[in-house]
Symmetry: C2
């Protein structure tokens, strides 16, 4: 069995020895470097720009201002294209702008022989601005007289409403009704490898972009759109990647790199954003304001809930309203036997541009829902775990919004298993009726998450298998390894289906749009789910070809043969090898009459999208005078169907929990309300948790078998991040009696709430 | 129609603008450079080697001597592997040697930070030799007491004999019998781009070799053999190539580059041979000594011929006996209604290593045969053209050696067409009975040539088609573009079969053994013939998929639809487009329910090998006192089946004729018989003809249709070089009455013969 075992990452040695080549490790003779001239204000119009002094700096090769770039707008969101024009991403971005909409917006760019010269020259570009009113929240951005950031009649980017059943009636009739207002903050992805790409022109004057991106094929399309070139005139190559978390599910500097090489006759031009630029001018997580209501019967049966979301997308649309829209779709599986109302509005502001980030709207919405669940439990006088156990999805339930049947649901078992592992009852009992400055609390929260984007997006994936002479097999996939371990799991899938050891599979980790079949990329926790059918189909084809050629070699019928652990055997005598697959491959290559290299390639679409589930149990101590939270124990439990590689799955859960704790207790991009200036765009002032700030992270799995899945598995990449925040908030409430309905739960926030509650002075 | 038209080379602009990136245009950070320490003598044993002084030169990183390299021998010939061990290429080469066998043999190699330092250090390595007797020809190499170059009982590498019918009886019975002895010289390929490659190790410690090679997949295998590594641990990438002509159908510096990077922890190491090194230490054309007999009836019906070949392979086997063996196979189609005897012996000597070169044995053998044909015509008192017309192959004839039927034969029509275009009868009449110092002559000679290596070699090829969203199609082929224009013709084939304009096909010109399906490479004039079935099959599959998806889009049955010129149409209304293929591709990519990227990939084998035919007519003037030959008119006529791209086909013919004239009238590597020292290993002293030295080159085609061929075509790459030499020799004979049975026909040779004949003093 190749699946279900903890195969060591296929790139482990390459990465720990430093041999893996990332975008910045690649170089070309004659490489040039570009640096932006960025707006120091959050909103205004450029009134004068003077590049003369900068151009005179030795080593400067060119400067382009907003007047020199194509005056057309393009979208940047990493979504697969849609045949339905109404579903196209909003195209509101230009390469540079004279109307700066956020702190750090780009007005010009300098190309020079080295990065320092480019940086220095960028500082020499003189820019004057006419300042405009700054709007960083809904109050100012949605005011009737607010200046329009992108024309139109308001700063509303988009809004929509969804209903499953009749939530209004159900809420009105509910025996217990709770309501709340929940606010989440802006955070940044803080991937290890920054935003970096370079571009050059090839022999046929096609533009080649090498980029640290999650979405090479989408980058190809958007560069084509931005420069008005045929998509196939662009080639995008993705080397090893040091993390993306959704930030690189946006098209970032690739169109600019492409533009620069295009204008400069094909010389290679590299753009690497500094960490400060990553904060200001890549993407962030949307701040949500969620107003919710939740109705429950006296015996704890959930009747309905409604959520009203205001999502702040910042200066440009990027993924725009998709994030707010996705929130509802992802959580609707969790408590399915209800009526559900969901409304969302996404608006522009002068914040840095928000985009995709791990969880994609679900963390914010789940925070509101799972806070309300504890609220309801309190009103019912019920253990919040009990309330959840009564209401979470069961196999056979139907999603209230899309009416899809749930074929696998292990969330109840997750809660049961967590109850035991965490010793919930004992721990909770110990937390009741505390006093004093140091108090303990426990909390629990649940999540559901879809396994891809279908039917909102087209779900297409690819796999190609080429068998080498020595019996090893090269696996080329459209899906992108971005650190999550997908290459390793893909190798396991192929090995499992072909019948060879995982070590026989060599994964081509680089995607190259010229030769890698189409796949939109790494996002939506989709890759293991939607690539699996392509791999399974291709691997089945390859296995059939191995057997067919072996049948020719030994003069036996194909149906009598099997491939097991790299050997062709009689099905009835599996212990006796007829040939190794290497022998079969040698014959297929070199037999003079029959054969051909053994290979298979598949591009296919997925039309199922089952939900993964999970939950967090947390035990924490609140030091009330210090406003400090210390996590004593935290455990995530997940139903992601079959676990393909336990160690990698644990890694995903640990990473997500850490990121979730960071979002909950540490991180916040602080933006001055008046000026729109970002106050902490660096890893010193932005309090990203280090390994020393994190508790031990426990996790466990409940393995269901999802019948719609090629290998029984479901999403796992994003879910672990979602449930820690409400669990922690619920635990703090239990510990202190103070309900805090906003994030982050930093000492600053706690201080305000504890003071308000009279716990401290 | 995409085929049969002169589509501009797909790489034309890239190459004429200098944008095409060749191996030397690629660089990597930290690249190191290696230079050999080469033997100044042709035969001897190293008795002492001292690298101390060299190692002390700043910038020198490592020196490896013959004692430091794997002590195992590997083969270098660019032949596909065989499952039959008896057919394996002779493995007699080590990376370096202490037994130097030719002038320039490598005894050590220096790696340094730049090429000049490496060169300087190589000169500082002190080597002492014990000299051994030098053998550069059969007399010395095959003497009973000759030292054995590679052990064994003699310096004979291999010998074999073939018979078709009973040539001895037929010759004995022939009414007219002619006999002769023919000698050809050593020449070098003189490709524009030298021998160059570099290697590095990738993230997984696999060795990546980037090389100017005709045979990337074979290089992969041989590097694996040379270093005793699994073949899939090697990756070979072939960029644009500036000519190979068979020299790069050998594995040259790739194993050494791989060895060096392997030993030096993965740093990139480049080896570029100087032109002098190319002459001494890459490969050359075998010198043949051919003894022939030919019998003909009084009415000019050829009865039989026999050829006895002695082939001098120099210091190592390389392609070894294959060259001598191939000669017979390639010409046996020309005059098929005969008995044929062929014996060949290949022997080692202290000449530089001979290997594959355009024509692969056929030029030498054809020179002998076509000289004898004129001899027979003279004895019969018959026009030599008439004699050939009586005897050349007709459709339906059978090859006397392999008994394969000839399904297409246009050689008679070539001779007829040439007779008219060249005005043979009038020109020949003007040449009879001349006197004086300046005389004219005309000559004619024929050739046949196979279209690949089957059944001697396995003939396997691959094609992959990936349709981009914009309806363009990426074509990936295992066959290698080496300057001959194959990429262009492949684009035309794909366009023709799919039903799109040729401009819609983008050919991936780079082969990369990790992702390019197996194909042994460019040699044997095979590529257009053996790749065509793979392209045709893949293109047919892709076309079917386009139609199937279009049928889904419009709700019509597939059988009603056709693809014409990039548009899907009703077969019955081809003038009305239903969709463009772009629309179909967009839908296939982005329809949410149905589809997948449209693609097809095929690896397949070819089991037919039809002969191409051709002939040369030449009119020349001999200045007897100056021993100088001036060509007045020369025309090649070819039956290569259907002509796929007339302009490229002409280019191939022009190139081959020029190379043939160079072989005949200009070129010779001069090796000192006593010392084995090469006297002219450079382009100043080696008289390679320039464009100014060549006459106008005319050509014409007789288009037959080869039914076994995917597009009706046959070989064309090598044939044009074959027939000029005997035609020129025959014309000089007619002009002067002097038969010269050796090459080259330089003034030096002519002087000797003219003096012997008493024409000059």
């Amino acid at each position: 069995m190749a699946l279900g075992v903890s195969l060591k990452r296929v790139d482990a040695e390459a990465k720990v020895t430093g041999r893996a080549r990332y975008t910045d490790d690649l170089s070309m003779p004659g490489m040039r470097y570009a640096k932006y001239v960025r707006s120091p204000i959050a909103h205004g119009l450029v009134t004068r720009i003077n590049t003369q002094a900068a151009l005179q700096l030795p080593g400067v090769e060119a400067i382009f201002t907003y007047l020199d770039v194509p005056q057309q707008c393009f979208p940047t969101a990493g979504h697969a294209w849609s045949l339905d024009a109404s579903k196209h991403d909003v195209a509101d971005k230009q390469l540079l702008t004279g109307h700066v909409r956020h702190h750090g917006d780009g007005v010009a760019i300098v190309v020079a022989c080295d990065p320092l010269t480019a940086e220095k020259a960028a500082q020499l570009v003189e820019v004057e601005y006419q300042e405009l009113p700054v709007m960083i929240n809904a109050t100012s951005a949605l005011a009737a007289d607010a200046p329009r950031l992108h024309g139109g009649t308001s700063n509303v980017l988009k809004q929509h409403a969804l209903k499953g059943g009749d939530p209004d009636t159900a809420l009105a009739a509910a025996e217990v009704l709770v309501a709340g207002h929940y606010q989440t903050q802006v955070v940044q992805h803080c991937h290890l490898e920054g935003v970096i790409s370079y571009a050059y022109m090839d022999q046929l004057q096609r533009i080649v972009v090498v980029s640290s991106t999650q979405i090479p094929h989408i980058v190809r399309r958007v560069v084509g759109q931005a420069l008005n070139l045929p998509w196939s005139a662009i080639r995008v190559i993705k080397p090893y990647l040091g993390g993306g978390f959704g930030n690189k599910q946006d098209v970032l500097e690739e169109p600019m790199c492409a533009f620069l090489t295009w204008k400069l006759g094909g010389v290679p031009v590299k753009i690497e954003l500094s960490r400060e630029e990553c904060f200001l001018a890549s993407r962030t997580r949307h701040a949500f304001a969620v107003s919710g209501k939740l109705g429950v019967s006296n015996d704890g049966i959930l009747q309905a809930y409604s959520l009203d979301v205001l999502s702040n997308t910042g200066a440009y649309a990027s993924h725009g309203h998709s994030i707010a829209a996705a929130g509802a779709n992802k959580i609707a599986y969790l408590y399915p036997r209800i009526a559900l109302g969901y409304q969302a509005t996404t608006y522009y502001s002068n914040l840095p541009n928000a985009g995709a980030m791990r969880g994609y709207g679900a963390p914010q919405v789940t925070f509101a829902l799972e806070c309300m669940m504890d609220e309801a439990a309190a009103q019912l006088g019920m253990d919040p775990l009990e309330l959840r156990m009564k209401n979470v999805a069961r196999q056979g339930d139907t999603n209230p919004l899309n009416h899809k049947k749930i074929h696998s649901a292990g969330i109840l078992e997750c809660l049961q298993k967590g109850r035991e592992l965490f010793e919930w009852d004992a721990r909770r009992a110990a937390c009741l009726n505390q006093s004093g400055p140091i108090r303990r609390g426990v909390g629990v929260a649940c999540l559901s998450y879809a396994s891809n984007t279908y039917p909102v997006g087209v779900e297409i994936a690819s796999a190609r298998l080429l068998m080498n002479q020595d019996g090893t097999i090269n696996l080329q996939i459209g899906a992108t390894e971005i650190g999550q371990g997908s290459d390793t799991v893909f190798a396991q899938m192929a090995a499992e289906t072909i019948g060879v050891p995982s070590s026989a599979i060599y994964v081509i980790s680089t995607q190259d749009t010229d030769i890698t079949a189409y796949d939109p990329g790494a996002f939506a926790s989709r890759q293991s789910y939607v690539t699996a059918p392509a791999i399974r189909q291709a691997a089945t084809e390859l296995r059939t070809k191995i057997i067919q050629h072996a049948a020719y070699m030994c003069g036996q019928p194909s149906w009598a043969l099997d491939v097991i652990n790299g050997e062709v055997v009689f099905k009835t005598r599996p212990e006796q090898a007829l040939f190794s697959v290497q022998q079969v491959s040698m014959s297929a290559h070199y037999d003079q009459e029959i054969g051909g290299q053994l290979m298979a390639e598949v591009s296919c679409k997925t039309r199922s999208n089952p939900p993964a589930f999970g939950c967090t149990f947390v035990d924490l101590t609140v030091d009330i005078p210090l406003c400090k939270v210390t996590i004593n124990k935290i455990i995530n439990l997940h139903d992601s169907g079959q676990i393909l590689n336990p160690q990698l799955a644990e890694g995903q859960v640990h990473g997500g929990m850490g990121m979730g704790i960071g979002w909950t207790l540490f991180e916040e991009m602080i933006v001055d309300e008046k000026s729109g200036i970002v106050r902490n765009p660096n890893l010193l002032d932005y309090k990203f948790p280090t390994i020393l700030d994190l508790p031990d992270l426990d996790c466990a799995f409940v393995e269901t078998y999802e019948p719609q899945s090629a290998y029984g598995h479901k999403a796992l990449g994003e879910p672990p991040l979602i449930s820690p925040a409400p669990a922690i908030r619920n635990a703090i409430w239990l510990a202190t009696g103070v309900k805090i309905d906003e994030l982050p739960l930093t000492p600053k926030t706690l201080y305000r709430h504890f003071a308000q509650a009279g716990l401290i002075e």
